[in-house]
């Protein structure tokens, strides 16, 4: 039953993802991609849990390495997305760097 429930969650999330993403304009596709990429770093949560309580050293090493890689993904992904998005300016707003 648990598996069926998770499959339902999966199906609904995919539909929701399609609905949300198809409205994003082409201008924002790169930040969308790096933003989505940062979200896929959610696997860090799995990495914290999967290895258990550290009773098996090999599992602990795997879990720790997974945490490290996922942390690169999460931290880097969100920061670079933020950096990109702050560059998008509307016309006639004050622009950093100024114009002579």
């Amino acid at each position: 039953m648990e598996a069926v429930f998770l499959a339902l969650v999966l199906m609904l999330s995919i539909f929701l993802g399609f609905e949300l993403i198809s409205k994003v304009p082409a201008t924002l596709h790169t930040p969308l991609m790096s933003g989505a990429n940062a979200i896929s770093g959610i696997t860090i949560v799995g990495a914290l849990i999967a290895a258990g309580d550290g009773s098996d050293p090999l599992a602990t090493y795997l879990g720790a390495a997974a945490v490290m890689f996922a942390a690169i993904n999460v931290v880097g992904g969100y920061l670079v997305t933020n950096r990109m998005l702050s560059m998008f300016k509307k016309k006639d707003t004050e622009q950093p760097g100024g114009q002579a």
């Binding site: 201008t27 896929s40 696997t43 016309k91």
Partner: protein, 453 residues
């Protein structure tokens, strides 16, 4: 904190991801959207730390610090022109993390067969994402050739790898053990398959690959979620998977090709375009300035060449001068211009071009005959009229920006060689086309100097 309470917090995190993605739909709200999404991530990680069955603290702190610092430094340092490479690397690190999550989950003793299957899925998808992303990075950063690598028996080899992978996976599920040789075989074959999948894809098709790998990194997280029975991984992973698939689809449509065609055939291998012959009409920066000064409406059409020449800042400068001169200035961007979806938009945004001046192909084409001067900077295929006229052209049927229908076209080009895909471009011989030879940045800079002088 009990498992139920943790799961309740996961629901809140999922809601924040959803709101975050929704707000990414408009440039005005996108920064807030990204912040919401990162808040969701923070909550998800923070409540997980209350789970009793997690890694020892010293490992968590050490690994997070190292990963976090690496990610932060890279994110601050990276040039906007190298965004595709960096996204490829981030995808790869997400993929390898999911592989390891699956692997570590094998150390739980009483896994059901269903769980073992999902563990293998997360190992396979994660491994493919990792090696495919590394190869894509190599191609994008030109550490290796960016051209399609195609050999005769490729499909047979790929099919054999796939069959071998499935066979090993089945054998593993019949007798699961952490040190089963079949496990290592599955990991090895998954890595190999990722390499083989990206190998036959050429540089101009990279936007499709990057989108697809993005999707895989989400699906890998999703599979890992099934492996450890965790709903936030499933929700977030599948939304990312859906996002990647949509972008992949948009990219394929913009090239008028099916996904299968992009993935399994090297670009331009099949057909030879009709050779066009004609005389090109070169122009000097002086003459270009005179025409631009008289223009009422100017549209810049950037391509990957603009990124290579780092010409975006000087292009913006020219755009501003033209506006002061009374012209209407737009930047027309083809969906597959550059090496990842939206690549050109980010470069122009970095150069302070306001986003309301960035127009999409569908918006510029109906009014292109009212454009006095279309300035093509480092773009080739996306403005090649052969896509409309020449049935023999490998890009026949691909939607293009119809710059040849503008009153005058300037093509900025280093020299007279054909573009990336090796197809000849009849645009260069058009009656209304003027070629401005030389480095794009230099050429524009000398026009700017004329305006100022």
């Amino acid at each position: 904190m009990s498992i139920e309470l943790i799961n309740l917090w996961y629901v809140a995190a999922a809601a924040l991801f959803i709101f975050g993605l929704k707000q990414l739909g408009s440039p005005a709200t996108a920064v807030r959207g990204n912040t919401l999404s990162s808040l969701g991530m923070f909550i998800a990680i923070a409540v997980t730390l209350f789970n009793k069955n997690i890694l020892p603290w010293e490992w968590i702190i050490g690994a997070t610090l190292i990963g976090g610092i690496v990610g932060a430094v890279v994110a601050q340092k990276v040039e906007m022109t190298s965004m595709p490479e960096m996204v490829a690397l981030f995808n790869g690190s997400g993929g390898v993390a999911s592989l390891m999550v699956g692997w570590a989950a094998l150390y739980n003793i009483d896994n059901s067969t269903f769980t073992n299957i999902t563990i293998l899925l997360s190992i396979i998808i994660g491994g493919m994402t990792f090696s495919g992303s590394i190869l894509a990075w190599g191609k994008l950063s030109e550490v290796m050739t960016s051209a399609a690598v195609v050999f005769g028996a490729q499909r047979i080899v790929n099919a054999l790898i796939l069959i071998g992978m499935v066979a090993c996976a089945v054998l593993f599920c019949m007798e699961p053990a952490v040190n089963s040789p079949y496990l290592y075989a599955v990991i090895g074959l998954a890595l190999l398959f990722g390499v083989m999948a990206v190998l036959p894809i050429g540089g101009a098709d990279m936007p499709v690959v990057i989108s697809l790998l993005n999707s895989y990194s989400g699906l890998a997280a999703c599979a890992a979620g099934f492996a450890i029975n965790n709903n936030i991984l499933i929700v977030a992973g599948s939304m990312v998977g859906a996002a990647g698939i949509i972008l992949t689809n948009i990219m394929c449509k913009a090239m008028n090709r099916s996904l299968a065609n992009v993935l399994f055939s090297g670009f331009g291998a099949a057909k030879q375009a009709t050779k066009v012959e004609g005389e090109v009409k070169p122009i000097t920066a002086d003459d270009a300035f005179l025409i631009l000064e008289a223009a009422q409406s100017v549209s810049f059409v950037p391509g990957y060449g603009m990124a290579v020449a780092q010409a975006q800042h000087v292009v913006r400068e020219l755009g501003e001068l033209l506006e002061k001169n009374g012209a209407e200035v737009t930047y027309a961007i083809h969906p597959v211009a550059g090496r990842m979806p939206g690549h050109m938009n980010v470069l122009l945004a970095e150069a302070n071009v306001p986003y309301d001046q960035l127009v999409e192909m569908e918006d510029i084409n109906p009014r292109i005959d009212n454009v006095d001067v279309a300035v093509v900077i480092g773009a080739n295929d996306v403005v090649n009229p052969a896509a409309r006229n020449d049935e023999n052209s490998p890009i026949y049927g691909m939607p293009i920006i119809n710059v040849d229908q503008a009153r005058t076209v300037f093509v900025l080009k280093r020299s007279m060689a054909s573009g990336f895909s090796g197809v000849d471009n009849p645009l260069f011989f058009g009656d209304n086309t003027r070629m401005l030879f030389g480095d794009a940045k230099q050429s524009i800079a000398s026009v700017v100097a004329e305006f100022k002088g």
